[in-house]
Point group: C2
Chain length 200, copies 2
């Protein structure tokens, strides 16, 4: 806990992660290079290798930090919102915030490149998707048992559907640079979970 860092508010490693994260979200893991990151930070490629052994290690650190931050956001939702439907809206707005910066979800982007990723990065992507699915599953199950949400089938299937629908809504909204397109799809998806059970 010693404050050996007096000059910089954030260390170099953090700034590297910040720039690389944005580049991956915008261009993909196969669409950015060490030269891009170094150029933006005004340092050399060699310096990057001091902080992250290689591109694969940087990529792994990227996902782990992103997952941790996302996990905190989910905990924050759980701590401040009790109604299931409102939790889902807060969840969707996390995605909307990402899209507003013309970015794709980091792990949605990496999911598209999954087959080209080094194994450690694959594992981290799966962990992110699993964590999100689990959180959504819990919210959906709770909401249905409380009678505020309504859907057929298992909560897990519904959770996977919601996760996919939000990721896909970002995917197709980005070429149009139109956040409203995401908003409409997100609202539509969540609306299908509201209300009383459908008549059979």
């Amino acid at each position: 806990m010693a404050a050996t860092q007096t000059q910089a508010p954030t260390g170099t490693a953090q700034r590297i992660l910040d720039v690389a994260e944005r580049l991956v979200q915008e261009r993909g893991y196969n669409g950015f290079s060490y030269a891009n990151v170094a150029g933006e930070l005004g340092i050399t490629k060699a310096s990057l290798h001091y902080h992250f052994a290689g591109k694969a290690e940087l990529g792994e650190a990227l996902i782990d930090r992103y997952s941790a931050r996302f996990g905190e956001a989910l905990e924050s939702i759980d701590a401040t919102i009790t109604v299931a439907g409102a939790k889902l809206e807060a969840y969707a707005s996390l995605y909307a915030d990402v899209l507003r910066g013309d970015r794709m979800c980091l792990c949605g982007m990496l999911a598209s490149e999954y087959q080209t990723l080094p194994q450690p990065m694959r594992n981290s992507v799966i962990r992110f998707l699993d964590a999100n699915t689990l959180w959504l599953t819990a919210v959906l199950a709770r909401g249905r048992s409380e009678g505020t949400l309504s859907f057929d089938g298992s909560p897990t299937d519904a959770a996977q559907t919601v996760l996919g629908a939000l990721q896909g809504a970002m995917l197709v909204a980005r070429p149009y640079a139109d956040p409203a397109r995401f908003q409409a799809a997100a609202a539509y998806t969540l609306a299908s979970l509201n209300g009383t059970p459908r008549p059979s």
Copy 2:
């Protein structure tokens, strides 16, 4: 119409497109190279440049052929299926077929890489998405006016939601190499459009 081609059932250009298409669907536009394609076909990179001036032109040809084939599939659905709900199921099964080959939709993959694509490819991706949205919009509007489908809001919003949900379902199913994951999400999405109007 002269049959100057006697040996090969399909020309070299077609086989280049076949291989490149699969590679882009599996690995993305930034994840494949001329060397990959040439290697699989047993020809040289230089030969590729005879058929396609550059990677950008190959990419454009890829999308245009894919869009044409997809358009034919949609026409086939229109010609053989009359019920809106069944049309949507047939549409979803087009995606399921793609996913079964461990592939992403070509244009879903390219949508993720949109910001790195040359302009002509961007235009072609947009055309694909627009064509799909238009087709879905017509099916959804017809289904609702006939009373076989039920949804709130504009048919266009619903169409964009369905398109995103299916693309996203492929996106998140692929890391798990689990087509059932897509099937569940697709079924769930389409089911939300069925039945009688929800009670308010």
